[in-house]
C-alpha cells in the first residue's frame, strides 16, 4: 500500500468517525414497545388475515361487510389497539397462503379458523394467542342412505381439503383402525362441499362448524344432510401471530380474555355503559381497567376493555351472533361454554 499523505489520513479519520456516527445514529433509533403494535398504531390500521369466505367465522355479506367470529376478534383488537373497531383491513386468504402471509408481515394477525398445533407453533415460528372456538372434525353424509355412524364410512369416498390438519386427521383415524377409504382431495372447503353435493363422495369431512356452514347451501335445503355424532380430532381454532413480538401477542391474548371475562362478569355490549358507572364494584372496575393501569402495561390508550366490549360485546354475544342461536348455523356452545358452565372458556384473572 502507498504511504498516506496527511490529507488522506485526515479523510480516513473522518470516514472512520462517520462509520461510528452511522452506528450510533442507527442505535439511537427510537425503541418501540412492540414492533407490530407500533406499526398498527402509527398507521391506525390493523391488517387481519381471514378466510376466503366461511360463514360464522369470516365472510362478506351482500353489502360487502365482513362478519363472523374471526372478524369480530380482529375488530376487538383494533378497538383496543387504535381505538376504532372499524380500522381493520381484511385480507381474504386461501388456506395455503395464510402462513406465508403472516410470515412475510403482509398481515398483523391471522384469524382464519386455524387449528392450534405443536407443529405450527414450534415449527413455523408462529404463536397462537388463545382459543377462539373449540371445534372438532366430523363427517357430513346424506340423511337418506348415508352412513349413520363413523364405522359406516369404511371403504367410503370422502371429500377433504388438501394440506390441512383435516386431511391428516382423516388418514390417522382410518389408518389406525385399519379401515380403508378413498380420499377425494380438493383445494378448498367450497370445492369439497360442491364435490360432496355433486355426488363425487359419500361423505364430506371438515370441522363441525364448517360442515354446518356448508349444509346451509345444500341443494334441496339442509334437511337432506346430517352431521354424524362424534368427532375424530380436537380443533382448537385461534388467532395467530408471528413469533418474536411478545407485546403484540400479549395484547391479542388479553383482548380475547377480556371478552371471556366480560361474559363471566355479566358485562355485555348493551349494559357496558351502565356497568362502567358502577364505581363501587371494585372487581368490575379493575376488570374494566378504570384506572388505565393495564392499558399502560399493554401500550394502548385507557378504556380499551370498554372499547372492545362496546364494539363486539362479550364472548357469548360474539358466539351467539355468529355461530349460535342468532346465526344461520345454530350451533350449540358445547365446549365453548364458560368454565363456570362446564365449558373450556376461561380467562386468567385481570389483576
Amino acid at each position: 500500500m502507498t504511504a498516506l499523505t496527511p490529507r488522506t489520513a485526515t479523510w480516513r479519520r473522518l470516514w472512520a468517525v462517520s462509520l461510528i456516527g452511522l452506528g450510533l445514529g442507527l442505535a439511537v433509533v427510537e425503541a418501540h414497545a412492540g414492533e407490530t403494535l407500533a406499526r398498527v398504531q402509527t398507521l391506525r390500521l390493523l391488517r387481519c388475515g381471514v378466510s376466503d369466505g366461511r360463514i360464522g367465522f369470516s365472510y362478506q355479506d351482500a353489502k360487502g361487510r365482513w362478519a363472523g367470529l374471526d372478524v369480530d376478534f380482529c375488530r376487538a383488537v383494533a378497538a383496543a389497539a387504535v381505538g376504532d373497531a372499524d380500522r381493520v383491513r381484511f385480507s381474504s386468504l386461501i388456506t395455503t397462503a395464510r402462513f406465508p402471509a403472516l410470515r412475510s408481515n403482509e398481515i398483523d394477525v391471522l384469524a382464519r379458523n386455524t387449528s392450534w398445533t405443536i407443529r405450527r407453533e414450534a415449527g413455523l415460528g408462529l404463536q397462537f394467542a388463545g382459543v377462539l372456538y373449540y371445534d372438532g372434525q366430523s363427517f357430513m353424509v346424506r340423511r337418506k342412505g348415508g352412513a349413520q355412524s363413523l364405522a359406516g364410512l369404511k371403504g367410503a369416498k370422502i371429500c377433504v381439503v388438501r394440506t390441512t390438519t383435516t386431511e391428516q386427521n382423516l388418514a390417522d383415524y382410518f389408518n389406525s383402525r385399519g379401515w380403508k377409504y378413498q380420499a377425494v382431495v380438493v383445494e378448498s372447503l367450497d370445492e369439497a362441499a360442491k364435490a360432496f353435493f355433486a355426488g363425487r363422495c359419500v361423505a364430506h369431512t371438515a370441522d363441525r362448524s364448517a360442515l354446518a356452514a356448508a349444509r346451509l347451501n345444500a341443494p334441496g335445503g339442509p334437511g337432506g344432510y346430517i352431521i354424524l355424532a362424534g368427532q375424530i380430532s380436537k380443533e382448537p381454532l385461534g388467532p395467530v401471530v408471528k413469533r418474536g413480538d411478545e407485546e403484540w401477542l400479549t395484547l391479542l391474548r388479553w383482548t380475547l380474555f377480556a371478552t371471556i371475562e366480560a361474559e363471566e362478569q355479566g358485562v355485555t355490549s348493551k349494559n357496558i355503559s351502565v356497568k362502567a358507572s358502577e364505581k363501587q364494584d371494585v372487581k368490575l372496575m379493575r376488570f374494566l381497567d378504570a384506572n388505565g393501569d393495564f392499558a399502560k402495561l399493554l401500550g394502548v390508550k385507557p378504556g380499551w376493555v370498554i372499547r372492545v366490549l362496546t364494539a363486539v360485546g362479550n364472548y357469548g354475544e360474539m358466539f351467539e351472533r355468529n355461530l349460535g342461536r342468532g346465526s344461520a348455523l345454530k350451533l350449540d356452545r358445547g365446549p365453548n361454554r364458560l368454565w363456570t358452565q362446564g365449558g373450556l372458556m376461561y380467562s386468567p384473572p385481570f389483576q
Binding site: 500500500m1 502507498t2 498516506l4 489520513a9 480516513r12 479519520r13 470516514w15 472512520a16 462517520s18 462509520l19 452511522l22 452506528g23 445514529g25 442507527l26 442505535a27 433509533v29 427510537e30 425503541a31 418501540h32 414492533e35 407500533a38 406499526r39 402509527t42 398507521l43 386461501i94 395455503t96 397462503a97 402462513f99 406465508p100 402471509a101 410470515r103 412475510s104 408481515n105 403482509e106 407443529r119 405450527r120 415449527g123 413455523l124 415460528g125 388438501r162 394440506t163 383445494e187
Partner: protein, 445 residues
Amino acid sequence: MTDFQIIVTVVVAVSLVVVLIFDWLDMTVAGLLAVIVLIVFDILSRQDVLSVVDAGGGVLALLLGGMVVARTLVPTGIFDYVGVRFLVLTRGSGKRFLLGLILLIAPVCAFLPNATAVLLLAPVILRVAMALNIDFVGPMILTAIISNSAGMLTLVGDPATFIVGSAMNMTFVEFIRRVSLGGLLTVLVLIPLLPRLMRDTWNVQRDLPADLAPPRLKEPVLGAFALLLLGSMILLFLFGEDLPTRIVPPAVSIIACAVALLIVYAVKVEPVQKVLADIDWKTLIFITSMFVLVQALIKAGFMQTAGNGLYEQFGVNRLGVAFTLLFGIGLLSGVLPNIPLVAASTLMIKGYLVTAQLVPEEALGVGFDTWPITTLPVFVAMMFGGTLGGNATLIGASANIVSGGICAAHGKPVRFVAFLRYGVPVTLAQITIGAIYVLALYYLI
C-alpha cells in the same frame, strides 16, 4: 410504514442509484445521506437496525478483518514477493496475466469470502499490473467479477449461495453434485469474453528483465506471525464451523483482526494507529448504508407483494417462477447488496412454494428437510441471480465496492459507468448460462 414513508423509501433508493450512475456525489456521502433521510422520516425502527446488523454484520466483519490482516502483511514485503513470482509466470503476457487471475482467484473464492480474498490478493495484482505497465483498473474489476462468479462453485463460495442452499438444507456434497457445474460454466464463460472486454491488456506483451528475482522478505518476525495468522484464518474459514465451539467466518475474521493488531502492537514495526488509519472506512460505510436501504425496501413490503404476484402470475409453473427469480433477483442484485435481498427472497419463495402447494406448510419452518427435488430449479435460479447479478455494477457486490475502493486508494477511482462496461456483458453472459442450466435441471431431474 405509511404510504408516504413507502414513497420516501422508493425515492431515496432510486435517487441514490441515479446519483451513483451519474457520479454526482461521492458514493459514501450519498449512502450516508440516504440513511439520514430514512432516519428523519422515521422509516427505521429498532427492529430494522437489528435486522441490518443481522444481515450485514457478518459481511462488515469479514471486510474489516480482511483489511486489517492484509494491511498487517504490507511491511513484510510478501505482496512484492508473490507479485514478482506471478509476474514471472506471466512471461510478460497480458493474456497469461488475465487467465492467471482466473486460475488464482476462482479456487480461492470458492472457499473464502469474496471481498476478503480480493483484499488479500489485490496488492499482488496491483504489483503485476504496474510491472506490466498496464492499467490496473480492468484487472481489479475482473478480480471482483471472478470472485463473485466463483461463489457458485461451492456451497460456501458466497453468502448468497449459502443462504439459499441452507434454506433447502443442501449439503456441501449435494451442491457440488447438482450446482457446481453451473458455477464452473459461469466462470469459464469469462474466458471467451476477455479478449473483447480487456483487449488492451489481453494483447500486451512486455519483455521482462532476465534477472527478475523476488525481493527478500522483510520484518521476519512480523512476517512469520502474520503468515501463521493468515494460515489459521483460512483453516478456520474452512473448518471453524465444524469445531465443538462453532466459529462462523465473520467471527474468524474479527478474531484475526484482533490478533493481527496485537501482533502489530507487539512487534513494534509500525504503530497500530497507522494500520487502522489505512483501513478503507469509506467502503465499510457505503456497504452499511446499502444494507440499511435494503432493509427499508423490504420493510416497505415489496418482497411480499412480489411473492403474491408469483403465485397469481405463474400458479404452479416452476419454470416461469425460476426464470422470473433468475432475471428479477439478478437485476436487483446489480443495484442492491445481494445478501439481504436473497435472504428476503428466500422467505418469499418458501411462501410461494407453500401457497402453490408444491411443499407442505412445514417448509416455512427452519427444521424442514424434505424438499422435493422438483423445487431445485427454483432455488438454483435464485442462487444464480443473487450471486451473479452483482457483477453488473460497481455497487452490486461487496467485492466490487472493495475493488473500486482499492483502485481509488491508488489514484484511479472507478466510475459507475466504467464498471458497467465490463459488468453488463459479463452478467448477461453468465445469467444466460444460468438460464440454460436451470432449464436443464428442470427437464433432467
